[in-house]
């Protein structure tokens, strides 16, 4: 057994009593990192799982107007564990005299591959079952009501008769449908064989949902596109399942990475301050070992071994604490989340936390050790450690650990920009905090000489403790300040992020979309709804659907990537004159009765995202026909209000002859909605009404989930941060213990000592808090503007609340932890201190 290990063990052997505080702080730091990391993984896992459910599979291959060919089908079968086929088209559902437009989804026996169907009653199999020779169909309630159907009643799709088997409450794979389609009818594809609906030439599309557990989606996509891309295959996978919420999911991803890094910073502070306090208490022993002939390397080994053992214990405890705590809270947390968060024991975050705990522990132990071995023994005994530079080897070792730490942060976070940006921010904050700490010390020294201190020993002690030699002020301001700063930044991001979600939700959405209005119906329809006093606004526009396929002759996807405008078909309108309220931002609208080459007016914001210029030529495929049009104007379109919004408006002559219908948006009081629906569907039986409330409800659900996720993640950082700050207060206990003993010997009452300690914590907390508020504002701004591309507004209540909360927690912890010192018998304390 080596000498270093023997001596190290001797110190460790005293039982863990002497190391309780160090181990506690280490464990809390590691627990913070582990818990936040696990939560991040759980939310990401949940989102990924949710992505699959929304999509209906891990990946999806989509074809228009045809089924997959034999080769395509064979490819799918050979690459996926399961393949499910879904056919969608629009059709009229007919029941007696009533008819209504519906979006039909025809499925196979495997559907749904993921998630479950919500029916008002009964099972999917019962609903689809053939009874009295009639296959079952499932309808959304709004559709069944419009057709006046009850369970068991008959309805027709094409020439096939169905019976209503069940009423649909929820489809798992609904988010892909988006807005603007009719209410749903679900049937089995086999039952449509005689309907005459799915025939060559009819407008339908097929989706093949694939389950490919563990597969590399990028590679799979590349393979599929290479093989069938030129045959009209459209690929989708779970990573981009939730259209419309994608932007938020992306931002949530960055937010979660930042949260993980914040947890790391907070946890690192905990570990660092604990190790620092531990090493401080060992300085006299180090000096004695040197007196007795120990070389620096021996001293170093003795303490690094101890740190290794303690880190080991602290890390294990921290992992248990962090993971266990999170798992205990999981049912509760899962209950709050509208989408399933996958709480599992993720080895990644645990490994990460252990790694950081060990590296931080050694890094912060190495610095004081490397200094101590170079210091004169007399200086060590006196505690007047002059600043000496560690030896080159030790500096190199520390640089190595630091590099390991930074490398780890980059590696684990998966985003070097965010990781380095965060670390840069942390270093900047430390710099400002150091200045604040030094300023506080200078201020304390200055105040100590002022008159008002006379006759107030409590104040004098506090000032002396801050301004005097061996002051802990700098260290406390640094660690407390960094902790509070991180919390303040997280608070700012969280508050702004949630505000932006609320802001992006349509504040004044229309009550209904009406689609499939024939030209002849538009005027009577307008007259009818405008006559209703509950209706505040009606808008109509003619609409076709088309796909933007080429930009200046080049495949649009190659030009703008996965921009949503080119990800499928879009509504396109046409008009002689700018519709009322249109703001043309550049170029000019075509003249009235214009019949020249096709022109297009493009939404300004999207155009600038796609880097389109006036004069660019777009190819739009409308019902199989390619139309080439030149962009001649940009206009402002607000897509956030869920009102009418078209990316593209064309000159009427360009699409003359193409079959089209009109859509209308109706804004009305909620109480009148039922009546409007009833009246319009009676008067215009083949117009389809879409309740916007229902449609955006799903989006709202998804956004709500994200808001909850951010609250949860931010909350995890806040809670663990406060716990770590409390741990920091605990680290100061031994020092406090000695001071209290000496002061008591000098005749100070306990109340006075406590008040003095509180005053001291308060002053250091104030310095740390001021910097933290500043850091919160700057950090929040940087993250929101630079990383998330969101507007930033300083949220004073969040900042004040968090910083004050943190300070109060620290102060309270300081008082609680001071209770033991001030009630301890001075004799014992002073004797142990020898």
């Amino acid at each position: 057994m080596s000498l270093a290990w023997r001596l190290a063990r001797r110190e460790l052997r005293g039982g863990l009593a002497g190391f309780r505080i160090l181990i506690l702080c280490l464990a809390l730091g590691v627990a913070a990192i582990a818990a936040v990391g696990m939560l991040r993984a759980a939310i990401e896992g949940g989102l990924a799982d949710q992505g699959s459910v929304i999509l209906g599979g891990d990946a999806q291959m989509n074809f228009t107007y045809r089924f997959a060919s034999v080769e395509e089908r064979a490819w799918m079968e050979s690459h996926a564990a399961k393949v499910s086929e879904v056919v969608s088209f629009r059709s009229l559902a007919v029941a007696g005299e009533d008819r209504a437009l519906t979006q039909v989804k025809a499925v196979d026996d495997l559907w749904p591959l993921l998630g479950s169907v919500g029916l008002e009653a009964g099972t999917l199999a019962e609903a689809f079952a053939v009874k009295d020779g009639l296959p079952g169909g499932i309808m959304e309630k709004v559709l069944a009501d419009r057709l006046g159907l009850k369970l068991g009643d008959r309805f027709k799709l094409g020439t096939q008769v169905f019976r209503l088997g069940a009423v649909l409450l929820k489809e798992p794979d609904s988010a892909t449908s988006g807005l603007g389609l009719g209410p749903r009818t679900l049937v089995r594809t086999v039952d449509l064989a005689l309907s005459g609906l799915i025939a060559p030439g009819t407008l339908y599309e097929t989706d093949y949902r694939l389950l490919v557990p563990g597969a590399d989606l990028d590679a799979l996509k590349a393979q599929a596109v290479a093989a069938f891309g030129d045959k009209g295959l459209q690929w989708g996978d779970r990573r981009h399942a939730a259209q419309g919420v994608e932007r938020f999911v992306e931002r949530l991803g960055s937010f979660l990475i930042l949260v993980g890094l914040a947890g790391l910073a907070v946890g690192g502070v905990g570990v660092a301050s604990a190790v620092r306090a531990f090493m401080e208490a060992r300085v006299a022993t180090i000096a004695t070992l040197k007196v007795l002939g120990a070389e620096g390397s021996l001293v170093l080994r003795i303490y690094l071994l101890q740190i290794a053992v303690i880190c080991g214990i602290g890390v294990v405890l921290g992992l248990v604490l962090g993971a266990g705590g999170l798992m205990l809270g999981a049912p509760l947390l899962a209950g709050v989340m509208p989408f399933p968060v996958s709480f599992r024991l993720y080895p990644g975050p645990l490994l990460e936390a252990a790694f950081y705990g060990a590296v931080t522990g050694h890094l912060f132990a190495l610095w004081p050790l490397a200094q101590a071995v170079r210091q004169k023994v007399t200086a060590l005994y006196r505690g007047t450690a002059a600043r000496v530079w560690p030896k080159a080897v030790h500096l190199a070792a520390m640089a190595g650990l630091l590099a390991l730490f930074i490398g780890g942060a980059v590696w684990f976070s998966g985003s070097w920009k965010l990781a380095l940006g965060t670390l840069g921010g942390v270093f900047a904050a430390l710099l400002v905090l150091a200045l604040a700490g030094l300023g506080l010390k200078a201020l304390a020294r200055m105040l100590a000489r002022r008159r008002f201190v006379d006759g107030r020993p409590g104040v004098r002690w506090a000032l002396a403790a801050i301004g005097g030699p061996r002051s802990e002020a700098l260290a406390v301001v640094l660690s407390l300040g960094l902790g509070l700063s991180v919390l303040a930044v997280v608070g700012q991001i969280d508050a702004n992020f949630r505000a932006s979600i609320a802001r992006d939700l349509p504040a004044k959405a229309p009550s209904f979309f009406f689609i499939d209005l024939q030209d002849a119906e538009v005027q009577p329809f307008l007259a009818m709804v405008k006559g209703n006093p509950a209706v505040s606004k009606v808008e109509t526009a003619p609409m076709l659907r088309g796909i933007l396929t080429k930009i200046n002759g080049v495949n649009a996807r190659d030009v703008v990537g996965d921009h949503w405008v080119v990800m499928g078909d879009r509504g396109i309108t046409f008009s002689d004159a700018p519709p009322p309220g249109t703001k043309v931002t550049a170029g000019v609208w075509w003249p009235k009765d214009y019949t020249g080459p096709a022109q297009i007016s493009f939404a300004a914001a999207e155009a600038s995202e796609m880097k389109l210029k006036l004069g660019d030529k777009l190819t739009v495929n409308i019902l199989g026909r390619d139309i080439e049009a030149t962009i001649t104007s940009f206009r402002k379109v607000d897509f956030s209000s869920a009102g009418m919004g078209f990316v593209m408006a064309m000159s009427p002559s360009a699409v003359a002859g193409a079959p089209h219908t009109s859509i209308a948006t109706v804004y009305a009081e909620g109480s009148a909605e039922a009546a409007i629906l009833r009246d319009t569907s009676k008067a215009f039986p083949n117009i389809t009404a879409i309740s916007v409330k229902d449609a955006i409800g799903r989006v709202v659900d998804a956004l709500g989930a994200i808001a909850t996720a951010t609250v949860l993640a931010a909350g995890a950082v806040l809670v663990t941060g406060v716990v770590v700050l409390i741990g920091g207060a605990a680290a100061g206990v031994p020092a406090r213990m000695r001071e209290a003993a000496v002061l008591k010997v000098l005749g100070a009452t306990r109340g006075r000592i406590l008040a003095s300690f509180a005053l001291r914590s308060g002053m250091m907390g104030a310095a740390a808090g001021l910097v933290a508020i500043l850091a919160g504002a700057i950090g929040g701004w940087a993250v929101l503007r630079l990383v998330m591309d969101l507007p930033y507004r300083f949220e004073p209540w969040s900042a004040l609340g968090i910083v004050l909360g943190g300070m109060v927690a620290t102060l309270a912890a300081g008082v609680v932890f001071a209770l033991a010192p001030i009630s301890a018998r001075p004799a014992r304390v002073l004797r142990d201190a020898e």
Partner: protein, 221 residues
């Protein structure tokens, strides 16, 4: 006889809050082998500082300090630590025992560090020599001041150092305990023939030494 300690024009100035403080201002002295020397002088006159310089625990800012023929001024911290092994035993006024180690372990540490065999047996013998064989398993916090200083004495002498340096070894003790410590100290010196330099401000203790040097305000009087 050989010269054990040779100080030439030793100066020490340390940075205080209000600029540098001249603590030792040109001290020259030699100590021969087997000699015992008492350093006396008022508090703050620099006695401890001088002793620490002799032990290589403090660095002179001027002049040279050589011990046992080795110039200490040029050595770094590690070399000084190695040099102390087996050459020097130091006793402090405030004991400086390692709080996490028992009396026996405290005494054994210098031998262990020097890599010598039978550390614990020899440490036990040394503890018994100072009359603490029965307290070997006790921690410093469980021992009285006098007992702690006896452990410290045993620890200083266990490696049979040629040079024993003691800084007011009885300063924290009552007269009875103080006298006992002095008896032990001189007993150890006599038995092992070590050279002894002792700081004290008690004249009757200084009288027991071969030679007395008085320090005042950083210079020898």
């Amino acid at each position: 006889m050989n010269t054990v300690l040779d100080l030439k024009d030793v100066r020490l100035s340390l940075k205080g809050n209000a600029g540098p403080v001249e603590i030792l201002r040109g001290i020259s002295l030699t100590v021969r082998e087997g000699e015992s020397l008492a350093l006396i002088g008022p508090s703050g006159s620099g006695k401890s500082s001088l002793l620490m310089l002799m032990a290589g625990l403090e660095r002179a800012t001027g002049g040279t300090v050589s011990a046992l023929g080795q110039d200490l001024t040029g050595l770094d911290e590690d070399a000084l630590a190695r040099f102390r092994r087996g050459n020097m035993g130091v006793v402090f006024q405030s004991f400086h025992l390692i709080p996490t180690m028992t009396a026996l372990e405290n005494v054994a540490v210098p031998l262990e560090i020097a890599g010598e065999a039978g550390a614990f047996a020899r440490a036990m013998a040394e503890l018994e020599a100072v009359g603490l064989g029965a307290r070997a398993g006790h921690y410093p916090s469980q021992l009285s001041g006098g007992e702690q200083q006896r452990v410290a004495l045993a620890r200083a002498s266990v490696g049979r150092p040629k040079l024993l340096l003691a800084d007011e070894p009885t300063g924290n003790l009552d007269t009875v305990n103080g006298a006992a410590i002095m008896d032990l100290l001189f007993g150890l010196r006599d038995r092992h023939g070590a050279t002894l330099v002792m700081v004290t401000h008690a004249p009757e203790l200084a009288e027991r030494c071969d030679r007395i040097l008085r320090l005042a305000d950083g210079v020898l009087a």
